[in-house]
Amino acid sequence: MASETLAIAPTGLSTRSLAERLHEWAVTVDHKRLGILYIGYALVFLVIGGVEATIMRVQLAVPNNHFVSPQVFNRMFTMHGTTMIFFVAMPILFGFSNYTVPLMIGARDMAFPRLNAWGFWMSALGGIILYFSFIGGFGLYGAGSAPDVGWFAYAPLTSPAFSVGHSTDYWIVGLLVSGFGSIATALNVMTTILCMRCPGMKLGRMPLFVWMNTVMAGLVLVAIGPLTAAQLMLLIDRYLGGHFFDTQAGGSAVIWMHFFWIFGHPEVYILVLPAFAIVSEVIPVFSRKPIFGYSIMVAATVSIGFISLGVWAHHMFTVGMTSYANAFFVASTAAIAVPTGIKIFNWVGTMWGGKIIYKTPMLFCVAFLCQFLIAGLTGIMLATAPFDWQLGNSYFVVAHFHYVILGGIVMAVFAGSYYWYPKVLGKMMNETLGKWHFWLFVIGFHLTFDFMHVPGLLGMPRRVYTYEASRGWEIWNLIVSIGVIFQIIGILLWVADVIWSYYKGEIAGNDPWDAWTLEWHTTSPPPEYNYAEIPVIRSRRPLWDLKHPEDPDWKYE
C-alpha cells in the first residue's frame, strides 16, 4: 500500500504574476514541463485536426453534398492527416515519454535538457509554419489556401506545375522543421535511457514503458532521415529546378513513394510503440500482477522495430512492382503479426488470473486490446497483395488506420492520461466523468470506424469530396458521420474532467494506484529535481520490493 503521504503543493497556485509564469514555461528546460507542453500543444492541434475531420464528415454525410468545394475538401484531408500524424500523435506521445521516462529510470532530468527544449520548440514551430500556409499559400489575396496534395504528397502532384502557390512549400518546410525537433527528442530519449539510469537499473530491469520508448527513439532516428531527405529533394525540385521527381525529365514518381513510405511505415510503429508502452504499464497495475513474459515482450518490441524497417512497400502494392517484390513485402508485413500477437497474448496473460480493477485507465486498456486486435487483422488482410489490389486506397484502408490510431493509440493515450494525471497534477481525475467519457467515446468510435469499412468494401475510394447516391454508400456514410458527434462529446467530457479535477479533484498522494515503478515513489507532482536522493533498485518492480520486504521480486528474477 502507499504508505508515505507527503504534503502536496499543487503547481501554479503560487503568487507569481501571469507574465512571470508564462516566461517560466517558455524558457523551461525541465523534462516534466516540456512533457506537459508537448501534450498541451498536441491537444490544441487535436481540436484543429478534429474540426477538419468534422468538416469532411459533414460533407460526406449525404451524397452530392455542397457543404464545401472540392478544393476545400482536399485541403481538409491533407491538413487533417498531416496535423494528426505530425502535430497530434507524435507530440502527445513524445510528451508522455518526456515526462515519464526520466522518472521511471530514477533520473533527475533528460540527458540534454536544453536540447529537449529546442526539440519541443522546433516541433511547435513546424506546426505554425504548416498552418501559416492558410495565409501564405497564395499571399493575402488567396487567403484560405492550404496544401492539397494529401499527407503522403505523391509526386508529381507536388511539382510546381501541378501545385502552384506556396502552400506545398509550407507543408514541406513545416515537416522538415518538426522533423529536426523529432530527431533531437529521439536522440535525447535514447541517450537518457542509455546513460541516466539509476544504480541497479540494468537494461533487463527497465520498465517495459522505457523499453518501448527506446525502440521508438531508435526508429525515429533511422526513419525521420528519409523523410527529411525526400523533403529536401522536393525543395530542390521546386526551388532550384531539380528533377528528382520530375517525370518530364526522366525523374521517377515511384521513387518518391519509396522514400516516403520508408519513413511512413516505421512512422506508424513510432506512434504505436509508445501506446504499447502505456498499456504495458497500466494493465499489470490494474491486474495486480507483474507483466507476463517480460523478456519475451522486450524481444517482441525489438523485433517489431527491425521488421518494420522492411515492409514499407505494402503501401505500394498497386504501383506495378514485380511479383517477387510484391511477394517479399507480403511476407515481411505478415511477419509483423507474430511479435505483435505475442504482445497481445502477453497482455491477456497478465490479466489472466489477476484481480482486475476496472477503473477508467483499465477500461481504456481493455478497449485498446479488443480494438487493436481487429485493426491488426484488417491490416493483415491489406497485407495480402491481391486483397490490397481491391481495397487499397478505399475507405477500407481509412477504416483500418483509424481503427489502429483511435482504437489503439488514442485509447492508450486516454488510459495514460487517467493513469498519470495524479502524478502530474497531484489530483485524482473524476471517475464518473471518466466512465461517461469512456462509453461515449467508445460508442462513437465504433459507430464511425466499424461502419467505415463497409463503403470501402462496396468500392468507395478515399479522398473523394462527393459521391453519387446510386452506389449504395449513403447510409453507411451517414452512420459514420453520426458517430463523430459521440466522439466529440466524449472528448469534451475528457477535457471537462481534466479541468474540473485540477481544481476539485481528490488529493492523490504519491502512489494512488499502488503501483510498482519508480515514478510513484516521488511526490505528486514531483519536485523539479525528481528525486532528492537517487534511488537504487534491485528488481523490475522496486516499489513492490519496498511494499513487500518479506517477499521481494529480486528473489525471483
Binding site: 500482477k289 510484391n326 486506397n393
Partner: protein
C-alpha cells in the same frame, strides 16, 4: 515462480516459456500458410500468359478523365471503355497498358479486377477477363488533384457482335457525318474557329488537340466529363458554357460564348455520333 501473497494480491506469475512458445509458433504457422496462398495468387495474376485472342487497350490517365486507345482497331475514345465478353470456350481477355499524361491515377473497377496505378513516365499492365455482359462502374482510385472524385469510369462488357458493331462505328471518322441542319454547320465553324480544336480531336476535321477527350463520337457516350453529368443537350450546353458548374476544378476553361453560339455548338456536338 508462483507465490501467493497476503490475500490482497493474486499469485504473482511472471510468465511461462511453454505458453510463449505456443503463441509464437501458431501465428508463425498461420503467417506461413497465408504467405504461400498469397504468393500463389500473385503469381497467377501477375505472371499470367497472354492468350492470342486478347484485346489490347491503352488507358491513359488525364486530370480528370480517361483516354482509351485500341491500337489494333484504330479506335480512340474517352471515359467509357467497351470490351467484349470473354467466355471459357474462347477467352478474349483484355490487356490494359496503363500510362499517365500528368499525375498518378489508378484504374479501379471493383467488380472486374483489382486496381493498378497509372503513373507518368512508367508503363503498367493489368488484365481483365469478364464473363458477363453489362455495365461495370469504377473510378479513379489514386488522388490526382481537385476533381479526383469525379474521375469516374464505365466499362461496358458487350457481346462479341455488339462489340464488333461498336468498333465499326467508332472507327469511322467524322467527315462521314452529314450536317443535316444549318445550326450544326454553324456550330462546326465556331468550333473550328475557337480554341476548342487545340484541346479536342474530331477525326476528319482540323481539330486534333489531345489535351481533352476525343469528341469524334461524343454522342455514343452516355455521360460527359468522366461521369460528372449525363449526356443530354442541356448538360452539354451547360458544360460548354461553364464547365465549373458541372465539375468545379476541371481543366476545361469556360469559353465565354454567346447564347446563340452555344446553341449552335451544342447542335454540332449532337451530330458527332
Amino acid at each position: 515462480m508462483r507465490r501467493s501473497d497476503d490475500h490482497r494480491e493474486p499469485p504473482q506469475v511472471y510468465g511461462s516459456n511453454q505458453i510463449e512458445l505456443a503463441w509464437t509458433v501458431i501465428p508463425v504457422l498461420i503467417v506461413v500458410m497465408l504467405f504461400l496462398a498469397t504468393a500463389r495468387v500473385i503469381a497467377q495474376v501477375q505472371d499470367a500468359d497472354r492468350s492470342p485472342d486478347s484485346i489490347d487497350v491503352t488507358a491513359i490517365g488525364h486530370q480528370f478523365w480517361w483516354e482509351f486507345r485500341y491500337p489494333g482497331l484504330g479506335v480512340v475514345t474517352a471515359n467509357e471503355l467497351h470490351i467484349p465478353v470473354s467466355d471459357s470456350v474462347s477467352p478474349t481477355p483484355t490487356f490494359l497498358k496503363l500510362l499517365s499524361a500528368d499525375t498518378d491515377h489508378s484504374f479501379w473497377v471493383p467488380r472486374l479486377a483489382g486496381k493498378t496505378d497509372l503513373i507518368p513516365n512508367r508503363v503498367n499492365q493489368m488484365w481483365i477477363d469478364p464473363h458477363h455482359t453489362g455495365l461495370y462502374l469504377g473510378q479513379c482510385a489514386q488522388y490526382c488533384g481537385t476533381q479526383h472524385a469525379l474521375m469516374l469510369l464505365r466499362v461496358y462488357v458487350d457481346s462479341r457482335s455488339d462489340f464488333d458493331a461498336w468498333v465499326r462505328s467508332q472507327s469511322r471518322s467524322a467527315v462521314a457525318v452529314a450536317l443535316t441542319n444549318a445550326d450544326a454547320a454553324k456550330g462546326r465553324e465556331i468550333f473550328e474557329a475557337t480554341s476548342c480544336i487545340n484541346c479536342h480531336t474530331v477525326r476528319g476535321t482540323v481539330a486534333d488537340g489531345r489535351f481533352g477527350p476525343d469528341l469524334t463520337h461524343l454522342m455514343s457516350r452516355e455521360e460527359i466529363a468522366a461521369g460528372a453529368a449525363t449526356n443530354t443537350p442541356a448538360n452539354l450546353k451547360l458544360w460548354i458554357e461553364d464547365p465549373d458548374a458541372i465539375k468545379p476544378g476541371s481543366l476545361m476553361p469556360a469559353m465565354r460564348l454567346t447564347e446563340q453560339d452555344l446553341n449552335s455548338l451544342t447542335a454540332y456536338m449532337e451530330t458527332l455520333r
